[in-house]
């Protein structure tokens, strides 16, 4: 056990525990907050593994954007405050889920642990530093990188279109059914 091993074990324990809590807690908002802890400590794990850039991007994108989006979605769907049994499937389905999750873990561990057994990374002289990553992104990987920019744009427009199309249709139906006009118009103004 080296120092980095010990630090990684500590960070990894926090990550695994908060991930477990985020999928088992009965309180909807707590699940998102535990996800925040999990992703944040995973960013710490990336730092321990010597990938500062990935860790910081993880903090910015996941913790800063995705968890906030999830929280907004929970607020917009009027998530119940306090413990709520309605967010989980029945117990037998959860048992099957737990068995499948354990099977996934066992399968991946039995595959990965022999693969990485004895493998070490000397992080004091790292093989991939941030300048190298930057050069790779804008050199070897530049076309996939550009494609990802297009993907983000498409996702943005797609998300907008998905919500707008239904709103628009609600309004159109409202013209035929006077009862829904006000509802459609009001959500239109908010959207």
């Amino acid at each position: 056990m080296t120092t980095r091993d010990i630090v990684f074990t500590a960070v990894g324990a926090v990550t695994a525990l908060s991930a477990l809590l985020s999928v088992t807690t009965k309180q909807v908002v707590h699940a998102a907050l535990w996800l925040l802890v999990c992703l944040g400590s995973l960013a710490g794990a990336y730092l321990v593994l010597g990938q500062e850039l990935v860790g910081l991007v993880q903090l910015l994108v996941y913790v800063g954007a995705i968890v906030v989006l999830v929280l907004f979605a929970l607020m917009l769907t009027r998530a119940p405050i306090g413990p709520h049994a309605e967010i989980d499937t029945p117990w037998w389905q959860r048992l099957a889920g737990a068995l499948l999750g354990a099977a996934t873990t066992a399968l991946l561990a039995s595959l990965l642990l022999p693969l990485f057994s004895g493998a070490t990374a000397d992080l004091d002289t790292p093989t991939t530093t941030t300048p190298q990553v930057a050069q790779a992104v804008f050199g070897t990987w530049v076309w996939p990188f550009e494609l990802l920019s297009v993907l983000l744009l498409v996702a943005l427009i797609g998300a907008f279109a998905v919500s707008r199309l239904v709103l628009h249709r609600d309004g159109g139906d409202g013209a035929r059914h006077p009862g829904t006009v006000s509802a459609g118009a009001r959500s239109d103004g908010r959207g």
């Binding site: 477990l20 992080l123 996939p144």
Partner: protein, 143 residues
Amino acid sequence: MIHLSLPAALSALLAGIGVYGVLARRNAVLVLIGVELILNAANLLLVTAGSRPGAPLSAGPVLTLFVITIAAAEITVALAIILVMFRRTGHIDLTAVPDLTDDEPDDLGDAEDPHAEDPRADERDGHPRDATREPAVAAEGLA
């Protein structure tokens, strides 16, 4: 120096927890949390494999950045669909089969029915998600 079997084990654990999260939740947003955990397991595995000595082209960290971007795009579209589902059905329970197709005339006829149940009744007894509410009522609730 770090032994790479530790992050590999954590990655396997995170993937298993994510699979459980996807299967054990009925709330659509919480299912997405499980998906995020699986994606993060993949990311951790990429970083782990990329920090082996002699990994070519900086593939590990670069592909991790790509996966993070794809995850951001994915969750944007997924949350938009979930919000549409909430607006149409009044709940985001995935065990009640969501109907996101075109409007049926019957559906709106129900919403127009003057004898329909008071839409706020189910909120008063503290279970706003239980009953399937009509689309018009759901839209009204959002406004």
